[in-house]
């Protein structure tokens, strides 16, 4: 892999429109994820955050618009080129998605064994170093089912970084973690971003922690980006949805009530 431009690439989504299962998920969406920085992608459930991730990885193709990672136009790559691109990306899926029939060691070693010709002794050292970064070198011989969910994710992070990627994508890395594990994850994301000089994208709900790890934020709602900028800038925004989201208000642009006929009618008349 003699790629000379091994600096982290910026990620751009331009005029993206995407329909899935008859529903328009994203419409004319524009998003800039700056190079070398950690960006948090936030928004209400079902807004399309994971969809954005899938566009960046090339798992989904937009109906209209362009997806760029650096100089590569992701949505138009053929299978080979897409594979080459993916080797420069590390993806952490929710729950880690480690292969259950392999040990933690073998899981982290998998991309190294598949995509490099390095001798086993060197791979061994690399794997142990990666596991050391996430604090789980001692668990190398254990199987994923023997570890907690948080530890699974850490091993999966080590696996995602195995090939020293330029881009790191995290799909809801903080979901369901206790405060300590949460702190660990935050630290890891920042450390990796700095050590490997990656462009990092973190899909998250965790508004409270955002300012601790993100250089840049954006909020997706209603098929578009409703706000973009550094965390402090967002906090000062007077957009109704941004305020509801950041403050966790029960009712607002995202309604509390599921659509239903009027209450008085429902109570007075027998339901058919």
């Amino acid at each position: 892999m003699t790629d000379d431009s091994r600096e982290s690439p910026p990620i751009r989504l331009r005029d993206i429109t995407l329909t899935l299962g008859g529903r328009v998920i994203l419409e004319n969406l524009n998003l800039e994820l700056p190079a070398g920085k950690v960006t948090a992608v936030m928004g209400p459930s079902g807004a399309g955050k994971t969809t954005v991730l899938r566009l960046v990885t090339g798992q989904l193709k937009p109906d209209a618009g362009e997806v760029w990672i650096g100089d590569d136009r992701v949505d138009q790559l053929d299978a080979r080129a897409l594979n080459r691109l993916r080797r420069r990306m590390g993806v952490l899926l929710q729950n880690g998605a480690l292969l259950t029939d392999l040990t933690c060691f073998d899981n982290v070693a998998l991309p190294l064994r598949e995509h490099t010709d390095l001798p086993e002794s060197l791979i061994r050292r690399l794997v142990l170093l990666k596991l050391q970064t996430v604090g789980l070198r001692g668990a190398a011989k254990m199987y994923p089912r023997e570890l907690s969910g948080g530890m699974n994710r850490r091993v999966a992070t080590a696996r995602a970084m195995a090939l020293d990627p330029d881009v790191m994508l995290y799909d809801e890395p903080f979901a369901g973690l206790d405060p300590i594990s949460l702190g660990v994850s935050l630290r890891l994301i920042r450390d990796i971003s700095q050590a490997l000089d990656t462009t990092s994208v973190v899909i998250t709900h965790d508004v409270g922690e955002v300012r601790h790890f993100a250089d840049h934020c954006c909020i997706i709602s209603d098929r578009k980006i409703v706000a973009q900028g550094p965390p402090d800038e967002l906090a000062g925004s007077d957009h109704a949805l941004v305020q509801q989201f950041l403050k966790g208000l029960a009712d607002g642009p995202v309604p509390f009530h599921y659509p239903a006929p009027g209450l008085a009618e429902d109570l007075l008349e027998p339901r058919q």
Binding site: R87, A97, L99, T100, R159
Partner: protein, 256 residues
Amino acid sequence: MSDPGAKGPALLSPLRELGRAVLFLATALAHMRLTRLQIAETLRQIYFAGVRSLVIIVTCGFFVGLVLTLQTYDTLTRFGAGDAVSTVLALSLFRELGPVLTAILFAGRAGTSITAEIGLMRATEQLDALELMAIDPLERIVQPRLIGGLIAVPALVLVFNMTALLGGVVFAVALMGVDPGTFWGNMQNTVELGRDFGHGMLKAVAFGAIAAWLAVYHGWSARPTSEGVALATTQTVITTAIAVLILDFVLSAFML
């Protein structure tokens, strides 16, 4: 699979499913690399599919041999042809019961296991993770299981036939007092290596291919939920049984 209420679509839906399954098989076998990793993984799958099925195959084989000999001997002695029992046993086993029963037992034991495994991998995003690491899940997960099943089933058929014959020997010779020389001698005189045994093994290979293919297909196309996986495992058993029995008839007709 298909909605039993609808008439028109009910015929098309299984056809479409069959088409999908065939396309899946073609794609899965498309790029085969002979690397050490692949061979090691295939051996592992032979272990899981074959070795783990041994218990049920040996047990069922033995009792099938025992009961088949019991029934045949009882019937044949009414015609004074008790000595033919070994021939009837061997012919029924080699040509029909060995391959068919082994394939169906395999589907129940190893086939469902494979289906559930792949279905769960999909549900827990492991297959997605592989794709995102630029590793082809068809190559890494599906191929070894396909080839493993293809090798394991004929091997299991051989073991089934052998244990069933032993079951027959136990009944006929040990219990009924049939002379062992007559038992084996009659069998050797009538059972042809190429025709009876060979054709049976051909069936075994064909059925192995079907069982392995359907097991991985149903796992791969399962909906990524617990109900989806459960449904997929039952479909593996049902479709394998039906396919094997239909193919059995077709092959038998051709081979005779």
